[in-house]
C-alpha cells in the first residue's frame, strides 16, 4: 500500500468519525441535517474505496440525495404551525457522560477483538456464488444474489416498503412548497433540462444491473429524485394518493414479483426458481416493476397524504 493510499484511507476514516460526532453534537437540527448529507457523501466515497460500487451507488442516491430531502421536509413540517420544535440540549452530568464513554470504549474493544479473531482469509460466500453465475439470470453477482439466489429476501423488502408508505400516509400531510419564493423560473428551467437525463439514467442503471453494478434500487431512487424535483419546482402537481391508478402503480413491483413467484410455483419448480433460459427476462421484468415501485414509494414518503391536506385547508 502506497503512502498516498494510506493517507487517503486515514483521512476518509477519521473525517467520517468526526462528521458523525459533529452531526450528533450539532446545536440546531438544520445544522445536523446538512452535516448528515455531507456524511452520506463521504460514506459513498468510503464504499467506493472498499471496492463496493453497488453500495456506493445506493449510498450516493439515498444517503447523499434523498434522505436529505426527506429530513428537510420533516424539519419544515416541525417548524410549521403549533408543532413545538424539540430543543436539543447537550448531555448533562459528568457521570452520564463517563458511563457513555465507557460503554463506547467497551463496544470498540469488543469489535476490535472480533475483527482480530477472524480467520484468514475471512469467511465468504463468494466461493459458492461465483461458480453458479452461469445458470443465473444475471451475470453480475450482486444482482444474481438479490434477484435469483435470494429473491425471497428482496420480495419481502418490497413488501416492507409498501408498509412504510401506509405508515407515512397514516401520519398525515406534508406542507406544500412555499410559492412566493424567488427564482422559481430558473429552477423550472433546470428541472426541464434534468428530467430527461434522470429518466434516461434510471433506465441505464436498470440495464447495467444485469451485468455490472447498478439495479432497481439505484434506478428507483433517481426516478424518485426526478419526481420530487417536479413537485418542488411547481411543475408537477401533487397527485391524489387515493386514486386507484396511483395505488396500483405503487404496488406494481410487488404484484409482478408475487406473480412470478406464483407462476414458477405452478410450473412445478420452487417459488422464484426461474425456468432455464427465462431467468434474464423474468429478472428484467421484476427489476422494472421494482424501479417503479421504489421510485413512487420515495415520492409518496416525501409527499405524505395529500388528500388530508386538502381536507384541512
Amino acid at each position: 500500500m502506497s503512502g498516498v493510499t494510506l493517507a487517503l484511507d486515514l483521512l476518509l476514516g477519521l473525517s467520517l468519525v468526526w462528521l458523525a460526532w459533529r452531526t450528533l453534537a450539532s446545536p440546531t437540527l438544520f445544522g445536523a441535517i446538512v452535516l448528515f448529507i455531507a456524511f452520506g457523501l463521504l460514506m459513498a466515497l468510503v464504499w467506493a474505496r472498499l471496492d463496493a460500487p453497488d453500495i456506493a451507488l445506493a449510498e450516493a442516491a439515498v444517503g447523499a440525495g434523498l434522505t436529505g430531502v426527506l429530513l428537510l421536509a420533516a424539519l419544515a413540517d416541525l417548524q410549521q404551525g403549533d408543532n413545538l420544535l424539540p430543543v436539543r440540549e447537550p448531555l448533562r452530568g459528568w457521570l452520564l457522560q463517563l458511563i457513555l464513554a465507557l460503554c463506547a470504549l467497551g463496544l470498540f474493544t469488543l469489535l476490535t477483538l472480533a475483527l482480530l479473531g477472524l480467520p484468514s482469509p475471512p469467511p465468504s460466500l463468494a466461493g459458492q456464488v461465483l461458480p453458479r453465475l452461469d445458470g443465473a439470470g444475471a451475470s453480475h453477482p450482486v444482482t444474481a444474489v438479490l434477484l435469483d439466489f435470494r429473491a425471497w429476501d428482496t420480495l419481502l423488502e418490497i413488501a416492507v416498503l409498501l408498509l412504510a408508505v401506509v405508515a407515512a400516509w397514516s401520519l398525515g400531510s406534508h406542507p406544500h412548497p412555499n410559492p412566493r419564493i424567488v427564482g422559481s423560473e430558473v429552477l423550472q428551467g433546470l428541472v426541464r433540462v434534468l428530467l430527461p437525463f434522470a429518466v434516461l439514467s434510471a433506465g441505464y442503471l436498470v440495464w447495467r444491473g444485469g451485468f455490472a453494478p447498478g439495479g432497481a434500487f439505484q434506478a428507483g431512487t433517481v426516478l424518485a429524485a426526478a419526481g420530487i424535483l417536479l413537485l418542488l419546482s411547481g411543475l408537477g402537481r401533487p397527485f391524489n394518493g387515493r386514486h386507484w391508478l396511483w395505488r396500483a402503480l405503487l404496488a406494481s413491483g410487488l404484484f409482478i414479483f408475487t406473480g412470478v413467484a406464483l407462476g414458477t410455483l405452478l410450473l412445478g419448480g420452487g417459488a422464484l426458481d426461474y425456468p432455464a433460459g427465462l431467468g434474464y427476462g423474468l429478472i428484467l421484468a421484476i427489476e422494472l416493476g421494482l424501479t417503479l415501485t421504489i421510485g413512487l414509494t420515495f415520492i409518496a414518503l416525501y409527499a405524505g397524504e395529500q388528500d388530508a391536506a386538502e381536507e384541512r385547508e
Partner: protein, 94 residues
C-alpha cells in the same frame, strides 16, 4: 506520453481552481461573495479535471460520459447559486 503529460497539466490546473474556490468559500466576507467564488471556480476546475481524465480514459465513450457529467454539474451548480443567492437576499430584506 504526450497525452499523459497534457492530462497531468489539465488535472493540475483543475485542482488549482478547486483550491481557489475553497479558499474563497472560507475567506470571503459574505454569502454572495462566497457563492461567486465557489460556484464558478469549482465548475471550471471540474471541467479541467474531466478533460484530463478524458485523455487518459482511452475511449470516446468514457470521454462522452465525463462531458455529460460535467454539463450536468454545471447546470445544477449555476441554478443552485442562483437559488441560494435569491434566498439569502429575500432573507435579508425581511
Amino acid at each position: 506520453m504526450i497525452l499523459a503529460l497534457l492530462a497531468t497539466v489539465l488535472i493540475g490546473a483543475g485542482l488549482i481552481f478547486f483550491i481557489a474556490g475553497t479558499l474563497g468559500l472560507l475567506r470571503f466576507p459574505d454569502v454572495l461573495c462566497r457563492i461567486h467564488a465557489l460556484t464558478k471556480a469549482d465548475n471550471i476546475g471540474l471541467g479541467l479535471v474531466a478533460a484530463g481524465l478524458a485523455l487518459l480514459g482511452g475511449s470516446w465513450a468514457v470521454a462522452f460520459k465525463l462531458l455529460l457529467i460535467w454539463l450536468l454539474v454545471m447546470a445544477a451548480g449555476t441554478t443552485a447559486a442562483q437559488l441560494v443567492a435569491g434566498h439569502s437576499q429575500a432573507e435579508d430584506e425581511r
